[in-house]
Each structure stands twice: as structure tokens, then as C-alpha cells.
Symmetry: C2
């Protein structure tokens, strides 16, 4: 690469881009860890994007109609931190750059949305950013349809690396974006031909241009170090009605001794090599030093969006009070006032009607009520709409010619769906939920973890939640999936017992601001156990006494979901034998764990024998069975300790012993 | 579709294919559940494949050099069951067809490798079959290089649907197969344009032909109901040196009222419609009845491979005794006799040397020893070779021109790697292991579950197993991933404390026949805690007393992996204060759970306070902390209850309180 020629051709551009390079080099060297080469390689693309196209205001990074910038190749975090510092972001000070990757700093190893306002999404697990971006672009389309182009009209820009494109989730994302003609999504592929193990050829020879074209994308190939080519490509991409991929041929660690090598991917910490690179770049600033003229040029870039923001604010001020209120409410993630009454009305109705339905159907009933009063919900399913019961009457199908449609047919893409839903949630203004079979939690898992880490309220509607699936057999029968989600921090796992609990769970999920929810729902019909209407949302406490013991309390049965009615049946049998038995319904262990100890002990007092009942593994149950402090009581668990089997559901519950009789036997064995 | 014309043109073929159709229709109707349309749609392709190409012997379905047939679209299980019954498979009797999806039958809802010898792999979770098949094809290449074309020379055939191709893992599989020119892999795409939610257009407009070509595949497009076209395409595919995709335009539920509709995907149970379809097909057999002439034609097909098998057996008999023994041992999955001594020698050496290394390095030391004596191991990494320490000196790189290479650069494809590894294990003759960061368990998870369900000994080498990752931050720091794998049935999760335990864990993993292993390994260095050499593999018991209390035993510290040395430090401090403290190292909870209760109670006697120490969530620990039967002892846990953070590792252990001092404080608070 002839760096002298690059410098000579566009000296101003070169120095601005090199400010990024120098900061990345210094910060990684300072931290003695990180990834130097990517920010250096993509500095030119980022500079042109920020200087000429990206609609943003560095001092107001959360302005609603900003363009979204997503660094899918999150290991190159110094690219975004450099850009933010240079542009005058208030959080990313020079001190933050100097404390890159250190305890308590905002400049974490990978960009974290919960640390920096200007970071749209947490990236690092490869492929997630590009899949999130599909959700961002969908959100923009829906919100534009809802609020008009005057209030919503922005682009989503993504920088993705070879790693992002090799991850399978990228194919799902590409497919969704292509199908839906997300024309305002523009992806820069950092085509540097380097992975950690060596050159890309070591593991891949895919023609990415052909691949994107095959899914209906607009594709361009450019020299990623040529600012004019970059500018022209962005202009063309913005004009395209298809999503755009710009393949940017770049040199990782350009100008450094590690240029074009896999060593360049990681931390370049050698002082002499750093010095040599800076000389080659023509960089005269000291460590962490950006010459004042270059810094002021960058600050002007950072302020470029001020007028656009102000114009937007003026347009917003002109909107009707009602529209403003609706927009502000949706952006804030506040539930509409009507929601609570709507849920209460549904609960009252079903406590009276006592329907015997599957909780997936209960979920549909709740959604029918919620979607009618919350225009911010966006539903969907990974090709199981009729099974997940996720589509309600008033959603409409999201389509190229119907952007106000709020239901998305995601296709057989659980991972892509989950990750795009995260993007919708992160964008703001909308609340995504999407369905698949609970066993396919496995496919969506990387995005489900990130929802929890990013503190966003994505709702995962997981139906067919046990051996109750029946004949489809063990591949389709979750046994460990409640345990998996429960072991993930900041995740609500709701396993409601009937329509009342399902409505309560949905109320919590639909009003949550920082915690994702997993709805574990049955395929099979269940009786209504909450037959007495209560205004209070009992599920909010995580667990509660559903039926009290008559006389001396000798046993406590703790159950969730479809097994609550098994517990109720067992209680009846035990009580008939004079064994006082309490039934505790525990629709959400996480919320129960958050209650005061006094409430927890009131629900689960020491002494009586306990039996936990859940058609899943015991993993995670012992805390509630053995007593939180130990030494409390005898306990047993009725559930699964193996994978399931293919047979009619009723026979499977017998086979695996998840029956009232077995619960009774377990209780009696301990008395 | 002009069915009359199809019948007229190839009447013999038509009736054979329609035998499959009729059985599928009857069996699904009989079970009142299942998937009718796919077997009907793909009956022609399957018939031509079995009649003219597939090298198999229905009475000897596990003959080593058979072609492999993989039904990636596993919901169409009646296709494979019909084929097996028709061909004279000994397991799939007519009774089994009649008991499709019923309790205890071998004809489960989805094909299960552990129920039927002729089912190469469990399918159902979409995309897995095609990704497994890449492993099958790799295995064939490696074994052919090891044993010669006379003993190993077969194809891998796959039937995949739209669902398989929409799943992201298929892209990873396609990329791997294209990169490695797996010319003996032939995939039929059941291009019926139907998914559960409707037509494919609802969610996808990807040009699959272009997409496969972009990754270097040989692609043909044919009418999937034209036997001559099918035959010609298979002939051309076999000639190609690239992997082949044959796009078969088919009609789901051909001839049935539900033809070409999403209803046709599921269970077609209407009796009148079934009758009408059979009439259209010209099928005269009664329910579950195959006219004798058609059955005998199929049985001839089932016996077509007898001569090929016999010829192979003759060639095998001519091979040297040594080669035969090696081949038989590898196929049986037996470890070589030398292995045990090799591991013991390593243990002795490291107990003496007491190296302070990361367990990922310990794993490399174990692999260095194992790979030298086990030519059946196949290693690899998802682009983290240097970090996962998975490559040893004598493996060689698997390449188009070096098929004896035993190390695979999988690229940034954790899921594809895991699923292909399962395929390698299922093929037989080889033992796969592959590495990634433990946090990316999430990506590989669907395949890790299937390894457990399928009872195969795939080894997942998961390094960087805690906040010990340091600066890369919470996306890269697993906290819940041991819990996730531990909650999965039939999975060994090894979290070894030092090189000795790592060697022991590897010995178990490398000799396991029916259980996959997860190796949870550190990035950071750890001291050797097993300083006294023992011939016995202590890790086999799952947990054991590493250090006994001096005097009265007041506390038991239970720890795994990197926290065992924390426990040892805490013990020293406690003992110094006169508090007798036992340290239990628990490298594998699952193996400990399998021990006799007497052993478990010997290691963890009731009474002393217990502290569990692991840099992960408490989920799953309570069984060991609170006492298996409850009422045993006070307990505490020192670990993580949130995601991690980005900072140097040492500081993170302090921040999250995973320190000897905190353990000491916890013990003292309970005494």
C-alpha cells in the first residue's frame, strides 16, 4: 500500500483518519490489550461516513432521529471510542481513552450500550451487530409509518468484519433485510482478508458479493482507503431501495509492521513499531495527543448534526400534542395508562370463564388485549405463527408496501429473529416480541444473553415448553431450557399456570424497561387455577400461595406452569388423607428471589416437606426445595432427569412420573 | 402438476415412489400427528437415489463403507421409515410403521440415531443435518487418506428443506464444505416453496442457487419429480470435485388436496382426502399395504448393496492384520492401550514439575500426548487456534491436497464447527474435538445439546472460562455457561483445576463412547494443586478430597477449576486460625452425581459449613451446598450473580469477591 500517495492525494482526510489510527494504537498499547488493526484499517471509511453522511450530534447522542451507527466488529472498539472522543462526545473524554479497558471506565473492551449513550448496541459476539441492525432498520420503517417522515427518517450504518459474515446469524440477517427491502440499511464490510488464525482463505472462499446479491442486496466494491470512492459508494447506497453492502478492500493495521497479517488483528504493543507506524502515517502528535487543528476539524464534524437536530426539534414542536405525547411515551418505553385496566379486565373475565386452554393460547389472549392498546408492540414468529399464537387481529403484516404492519414473518431464523428483535428494542419507540418452540431457545441463545446483558426488554415467546409437546419427541421437548434462561443474569423466566398468570406475566414483560422476558408456554390445554379474581398482579411477587393447607401444614408443593394443576390434584389427594398441603405457584423464580426474605419465608416456611414439580430438570430448584439457608426441610423433586421421548403427551407425563400420584408418593415417603 | 403424465412416463418408478407416499400418508393419519407432505414431495428423489445410487445394504445398515443418507429435514421422518421398511430393514417392520410416533416405538416423531441403526443422525432441529453432513464428508476424506480407497470410499447424501437453508448454521456448513472441496457431499434441496407460515416468499427471497455457487458449490436445478433428471443430476454431482447441491423443484403433498400449501407441511389426516389422493396416485393398496410386486422390487433395491458390501469385506480381509485391528478399534471407538500409560506419564511429570500454566495450556499438553497415540482424533478451532491451544505438532492441516491432515480451521463458525464435529463422531472411526471461547457455548449450543441427545462423545474445548478473561469484558466472560451445560442431560462438564486434572479429564473425554464433554478451561495461569502423583484418575469420581482438615473439620470448601487454588489459599488462612478445613475439588459434577451415595457422603459429610467457590453463577450448586437431602448444613457460595466487566482479570476477581479472604469471611460468618 502506497501510504505516501494516500497522504498526498487527500491530506486533510488523511490526517483526520490518522487521528483515529493514532488513538487506537496508543490506547491499545496503554491497555496492553485490545485490537489495534481494525480501527486503523477502517479509519478512512469511518472518517468519510462521519464527516459527510452520518446524521448525528456528538453532544446529543440520543437524539431520536439520528442515524444509527453500529460497530458489528465490536473488537475494534477503539474505532468508535476514537470517533466519539474526536467529535466531542461528553462521555468519552481523553481520560476515558487513556483508561481503555480498565476497571470502571466507560471504554470497555467491547462497546457496551449500557456504558455509553452513543453506543447503540453491545457488540463483540460476532454477527450480532449486523443482525441487530436489521432490527434497527425495521424499527425505523415502522416508526416512519407511524409518525411520518418529518419525525422519523434516518439510516442505519454498520461496520462488519469477516467474522460477522462467517457467523451463520449474518445469513439470517441478510435474508431478512433482503426480503424486506430495508433500503436504509447500509453495511460496510471491512474486507481485510484477515482472521485470527490467518488469512480468510484458511477457512473460507465465499464470494461475499455474490452471496449478498443472492439475497437481494445492492452491492458495491471499493477501495476502503479511498475517501472519494467511499463517499460515492455511500451516496449510491443511500439512493438504493435495497439494503446495501459496500465491500471495502482494506489493509488491517495499515502502515504498521503487522499490516495485512493476523498479528495485526490483536494488540500491537511494541513501542518501536508504534513509533515507526506513526512516522509512516506522518503523525506528529505525542501519545494520546491530537494536534489542535485536527481536533477542531473533528469537533466541527461532531457538531455537523446540530442544525439537523434543531430542525427536527422544530418539526417535533409543530406536531400535535397527542402525537408528541405518544412519541415521547413510546421512546421512554412507558406503558400506556390503559394497559393496567386492560389486563385486569382480562383477568377478571378468565377467572369467571375459567377456560381450559394452552398457555400459548392464553398468551394470544393477552396479546390481543395488549396489542390493541400498545401501538409500540411488534410481533412475529420464526415460521411458527399458528403454533406460537403470536399474531393478533390488529397487527397487520410488515411489508415493503405496508410499513405500518406490526407483524413480522421472520422465517426459520430463530437467531436472526432474536437478534433483530434486540435491534428493534435498542432503537427505541417499539417493543418487540417473537415466538419459536422453547427447545429452540438454543438457536436464539446468543441474542437472548445479549438482551439480558444490554438491559433491554425483548420478549421471547417460547411455546411447546415440555414433554407436553408429545409426538415430536426429544429434539422438540425442552427439558433444560428453563434452567438455561434462569441461570442467565437479568432475565425473567415466566412459566405461567393458566390464563390469569399469563396475563400477569405479559403485563410485567410489556412494562419492563431493563429486563428481557422468556415466556415458557404450553402446547397442551390447562385448567384455570386462578379462579378467584384478584386485582393485584400476583406474578409480580414471583411465587405465592395458591392453595393453603387445611389444618396442620405438613407439605408444600411448589410448581410452575403446567405442573401447577398437577400440584393442585396432588393436594386434593393428600388433603383427603389428612395431610395438610399448601400449593405454591411459582411463575417467576427471579421475581421471587427479589422479594424480601420475610415474604419468601412466609411463602416457603421451614418445616413442612417440600416437593418441587416442573416438567424440566431440577437444576436451579434446590434453592427453593432445600431451604435457602439449608437445614430447613426434607425435599424431593418431580420432573425430568433425562431427555424426553416421542409419544402422545399424556403418556409421557405418566412415563416420566410427572403425575399427582407420584407427587403424593413423594410427600408420603418423606413424612 | 400432471400426475397422469408422471405415472404414464415412468410407471414402475411411479409405483415405487408412491409406496413411500402411501405409507407416509397412512402412518401420519394413524398417528394423528406428523408431517405428510414432505415424504410425498421427495419420494421421487429418494426412490432414484436408493434405486440407482445409494450404496447400502438394508440388512446391514451399519456396514462401514456404506454411503451415508441424512434426512436434514427430519420432520419428514416417514420418508426414511418408509424407505427402510420397503427395503427390508430389520428394525423398521410394518408394526413399527403402524406405531409411528407411539410410546416405545423405534419410529419416533423425528429420526433418532439411537433408536434405529440406519438413521445416521438425529434430525429435527433444522439445519443440523446439513451441518452434520459436512462432518460426515470430512470424516470420509480423512479415513480414506488413513486407510486407502479400498476400505473407505463413499458418498454423503442429504435431503434438506427450505427450513434447513434458512437456518444460519447452513451458511456455516456451506462455507466449510465449499472451502474444503468436499466433492463427495451431495445435497438435495427440497425446493417446494412452502414453510409452515405460508410460501417461502413470505420470509425469504434468497436465490439459493447463487448462494451455494458463491461458496464454491456445484449446483444443478431439476424437476424433482422427473426420475431421469434426478438420476442424471446425481451422476453429474458424483463427478464433481466440489460439493454438490441439486435444487429439486417439488410439490409438497403432491396429488393431495393440500398440495403446494402450508397445510401440506403438517399432518394430513382427513380420510376422504387420503382416499382421493391415493386414487389420483393410482394406488390400490389398502391401509399400510404395499402390493407384493412393489414390495419385492423395493427389497431388491434394499439388497442391491450386498455384493458391494461383500466385495468390501473381501478387500478388508486382505488388509494387514495391523490395519484391520486399527480400523476395527477406531470404528468401535476404543481407546488404544497406550493411552492410559501416556496419561499417567504426563500426570507424573506435571506433579513433579508443578507448572503454573493456564488449563488451556494444560489441555494442549494433554492433547500433545493423546494425539500422538490416537490417530483417530481430529482437532480444530473456530478461528481461535492460538487461544484455544487446540493444535498439536503432529496433526497436520486438513486440506484439499492433504486429506490426512487432522486439524481443521473451522473459521468463525462455532455452530457449524460443533455440528460438523457431531457428524465426524457419528460417522465413526474418528474422535473430534474443537475449540472456541466458553462464552460462545451460546453459538454452538444447538449442536452441543444434540451431541448429548445422540449419545456421541464430541469434545467441546471451551477456553477463557470466566471473568479471568479480563479486559474483553462481559460479552466474552462466561458466567452461566457451566450451568447451561450442567443442566443438559448426558453431558460431562469438566472444569479442571490444574494440569493433572486436565489430563484426567481428557482421558475420560477421549475414551467416552456415549457422552459428550465440555472442557471449561482458563485463560489465566493456575498453580499445580495435584502435587502428589496418583496413578488413579481422581477426576473419574467427579469430586474428591484434595486437602483434609487438620483437627476438627469445621468447614468444607468445594471448588472447581481456577477457584480450587482460591480454596486452598482460604484453607491455609482458616487452618492458621484453627478452623479445620477440608478442600474438595469437584472437576465434574455429573460424575460425582453418578457415584454411590456412600462415596458422596464421604466427600461431603453432613455437619461442617460449606462454601462453594466457582467464578460462575450458583445455579446448580445448591445440591452440593445445602446437602442432597436437605437439613444437613449451613452453606454459602462465592461466585458470580451478575455479568462480568471489562478490566484486568486480577482486579475483577477482587471486585466480584472471588478471593480467599472472602471465602474465609463466609466460613467465619457461619460458624
Amino acid at each position: 500500500m502506497d501510504i505516501a500517495a494516500l497522504k498526498a492525494k487527500n491530506p486533510d482526510h488523511w490526517m483526520k483518519a490518522t487521528a483515529i489510527r493514532a488513538l487506537a494504537l496508543d490506547a491499545v498499547k496503554g491497555a496492553n490489550s485490545g485490537h489495534t488493526g481494525m480501527p486503523i484499517g477502517m479509519a478512512d471509511v469511518a472518517t468519510v461516513l462521519f464527516e459527510k453522511h452520518l446524521k448525528f450530534d456528538a453532544k446529543n447522542p440520543t437524539w431520536p432521529d439520528r442515524d444509527r451507527f453500529i460497530l458489528s466488529a465490536g473488537h475494534g472498539s477503539m474505532l468508535i471510542y476514537s470517533l466519539l472522543y474526536l467529535c466531542g462526545d461528553q462521555q468519552v473524554t481523553l481520560d476515558q481513552i487513556k483508561n481503555f479497558r480498565q476497571m470502571g471506565s466507560l471504554t470497555a473492551g467491547h462497546p457496551e450500550n449500557f456504558l455509553l449513550d452513543a453506543v447503540e448496541t453491545t457488540t463483540g459476539p460476532l454477527g450480532q451487530g449486523i443482525a441487530n441492525s436489521v432490527g434497527f432498520a425495521i424499527a425505523e420503517e415502522i416508526l416512519r409509518a407511524q409518525y411520518g417522515k418529518k419525525l422519523v427518517d434516518h439510516h442505519t450504518y454498520v461496520i462488519a468484519g469477516d467474522g460477522c459474515l462467517m457467523e451463520g446469524v449474518s445469513q439470517e440477517a441478510i435474508g431478512i433485510a433482503g426480503r424486506h427491502n430495508l433500503g436504509k440499511l447500509i453495511v460496510f464490510w471491512d474486507n481485510n482478508n484477515i482472521t485470527i488464525d490467518g488469512t480468510v482463505e484458511l477457512s473460507d472462499k465465499t464470494n461475499q458479493v455474490q452471496r449478498f446479491k443472492a439475497s437481494g442486496w445492492h452491492v458495491q466494491e471499493i477501495d476502503g482507503h479511498d475517501p472519494e470512492a467511499i463517499d460515492a459508494a455511500i451516496i449510491a447506497a443511500k439512493k438504493s431501495k435495497k439494503p446495501s453492502m459496500i465491500a471495502c478492500k482494506t489493509h488491517i493495521a495499515l502502515g504498521h509492521a503487522a499490516q495485512d497479517t493476523s498479528k495485526g488483528h490483536g494488540a500491537l504493543t511494541d513501542a518501536d513499531q508504534a513509533k515507526a507506524a506513526k512516522e509512516i502515517w506522518g503523525w506528529t502528535g505525542g501519545e494520546y495527543e491530537v494536534p489542535a487543528d485536527i481536533k477542531s476539524q473533528w469537533e466541527a464534524i461532531g457538531a455537523r448534526g446540530v442544525s439537523e437536530r434543531e430542525a427536527w426539534e422544530a418539526r417535533f414542536a409543530e406536531a400535535s400534542t397527542q402525537k408528541q405525547a405518544k412519541f415521547n411515551r413510546a421512546l421512554a418505553g412507558d406503558a400506556p395508562k390503559k394497559l393496567s385496566a386492560t389486563i385486569k379486565a382480562l383477568k377478571k373475565q378468565v377467572s369467571e370463564d375459567q377456560p381450559k386452554v394452552a398457555t400459548r393460547k392464553s398468551s394470544e389472549m393477552a396479546l390481543q388485549a395488549i396489542n390493541a392498546v400498545m401501538p409500540e408492540t411488534v410481533g412475529g414468529s420464526a415460521d411458527l405463527t399458528g403454533s406460537n399464537n403470536t399474531k393478533t387481529d390488529d397487527l397487520g403484516m410488515f411489508e415493503t408496501n405496508n410499513r405500518s404492519g406490526r407483524y413480522i414473518y421472520w422465517g426459520i431464523r430463530e437467531h436472526g429473529m432474536a437478534s433483530a428483535m434486540n435491534g428493534i428494542a435498542l432503537h427505541g419507540g417499539l417493543r418487540p416480541y417473537g415466538g419459536t418452540f422453547m427447545a429452540f431457545t438454543d438457536y436464539a441463545r446468543p441474542a437472548m444473553r445479549l438482551a439480558a446483558l444490554m438491559k433491554i426488554p425483548t420478549v421471547f415467546v417460547m411455546t411447546h415448553d415440555s414433554i407436553g409437546v408429545g409426538e415430536d419427541g426429544p429434539t422438540h421437548q425442552p427439558v433444560e431450557h428453563c434452567a438455561i434462561s434462569r441461570s442467565t443474569p437479568n432475565t425473567y423466566v415466566f412459566r405461567p399456570a393458566d390464563t390469569v398468570e399469563t396475563a400477569e406475566a405479559w403485563e410485567i414483560a410489556a412494562t419492563s424497561k431493563t429486563t428481557p422476558s422468556v415466556m415458557s408456554l404450553t402446547r397442551q390445554n390447562l385448567p384455570t387455577v386462578r379462579t378467584e379474581h384478584k386485582l393485584k398482579n400476583l406474578t409480580e411477587q414471583g411465587a405465592y400461595v395458591l392453595a393453603e393447607a387445611t389444618g396442620k401444614r405438613q407439605a408444600i408443593l411448589i410448581a410452575t406452569g403446567s405442573e401447577v394443576s398437577v400440584a393442585m390434584d396432588a393436594r386434593e389427594k393428600l388433603e383427603a388423607e389428612g395431610i395438610g398441603t399448601r400449593v405454591v405457584s411459582m411463575p417467576c423464580m427471579e421475581l421471587f428471589a427479589q422479594q424480601d426474605e420475610s415474604y419468601r419465608r412466609k411463602v416457603l416456611p421451614a418445616g413442612p416437606v417440600r416437593v418441587g414439580i416442573e416438567a424440566g430438570v431440577r437444576h436451579g430448584w434446590d434453592r427453593w426445595l432445600l431451604g435457602e439457608r439449608g437445614r430447613e426441610n426434607k425435599a424431593a423433586f418431580v420432573g425430568m432427569d433425562s431427555f424426553g421421548s416421542s409419544a402422545p403427551a399424556g403418556e409421557l407425563f405418566e412415563k416420566f412420573g410427572i403425575t399427582a400420584d407420584n407427587v403424593v408418593a413423594n410427600v408420603k415417603a418423606m413424612l
